[in-house]
Symmetry: C2
Subunit: 201 residues, 2 copies
DNA sequence: CCTACCGATCGGTAGG
DNA sequence: CCTACCGATCGGTAGG
């Protein structure tokens, strides 16, 4: 059952994905949904609560659309690569309303300390931890040679984020392929001989 | 001689670096400088012109503070590495008011097509071209093996941008070192045997 | 969940 | 370069 609050948060994620969490005004959100401002406001009690709950909702959608589907892949290198690749494909799939949410919001608030930045940083920290876990699995399974796990996770994330960013900035999907190639090359440089080749999906 | 307009643009760059070009309001800018709103407004004629001229001013400062000083280094690999390293050090040097400007503004407008995004994308395109030129110089000089120049430039830029971004998001300067190490490793993986080692400044 | 309102601020204009 | 203003919109509140 879809509650009114769910409907509000769905629109909130869509608006914030396009225009940022500051561009998300209560009045405009109310108009979009066909409610009064005070009606929307009452569900949250402050703009900041609306922003925090919008972040939580976007995180749930992100996990449902990107993180969870990849869990069907065998653990280790294949799953790590599938996750990176899924994240990049995600940027061009318009059926996911939150597809630009974290690219937009993480950058919007990275230089603005406060509860919003902390909430976004928390979501991304958990995402980075998952990438590190996948890397560690791959090392344990003998698919990747010994490596600095945090360093590798940083480099993979850098190419994922830059893929999305440059794709938007120049309206050029080639940026996503560059990111994919960069990630693949980096993983292959660490691959143990005999590991099955990664599929370029 | 410093004109009034220069003083306005200096403050505009500082404000936009911290809060984005949308957070840059004419009223607040006027207050900061001790002028009337209409006085500031008259220098530009529209908010959009103010934004565009602020971008141009930030670009001029960026070149003066990062790009030009590196030109004293010998061309090729050393200069390329010096440029990447200078860009990363720049993020923590508070004497440069524009140090966060392009990290902030490029991300703010990447999903918002229009003249502002185009202006920012133009500055970054020229920056990327310069990196590609340095890579080509290094190849010509026999310091780097044959490589896909655009791909390598993308990967270097990805780590530079992610270095700034993660540094801000987590208040953690280690991100800048990660970026530096990632870039250095990538360059060394392509280095021709016999090329003098790069200094980790 | 609504109407009706508050003070503050926005970009922009008139007139000097 | 100023004062004084415009209509629109902001987050938030009162009262129902």
């Amino acid at each position: 059952m879809t509650t009114t609050k769910d409907r509000i948060l769905e629109r909130a994620v869509a608006i914030a994905s396009a225009e940022g969490l500051d561009g998300l005004s209560i009045g405009r959100l109310a108009d979009d949904i066909g409610m009064s401002k005070a009606g929307v406001y009452g569900h949250f009690g402050s703009k900041e609560r609306l922003q925090i709950e919008t972040i939580d909702h976007a995180r749930d959608l992100f996990y449902r659309h990107v993180v969870v589907p990849v869990e069907t892949r065998e653990p280790g290198l294949a799953r790590l690569w599938a996750l990176c690749s899924a994240y990049l494909s995600y940027a061009v799939d318009s059926s996911f309303p939150e597809r630009d949410f974290f690219s937009t919001v993480a950058n919007e608030f990275d230089t603005q300390p406060g509860p919003i930045r902390d909430a976004v940083a928390g979501v991304i920290a958990i995402w980075m931890q998952r990438i590190e876990d996948h890397i560690e699995d791959a090392v344990q399974l003998g698919q990747l040679g010994d490596c600095d796990v945090e360093q590798l996770a940083f480099e993979l994330e850098a190419m994922m984020v830059a893929g999305h960013h440059v794709y938007h900035l120049n309206d050029d999907p080639a940026a996503l392929d560059r990111a994919r190639r960069g990630i693949l090359a980096r993983l292959e440089s660490l691959e143990t001989p005999g590991t099955p080749a990664l599929e370029v999906a």
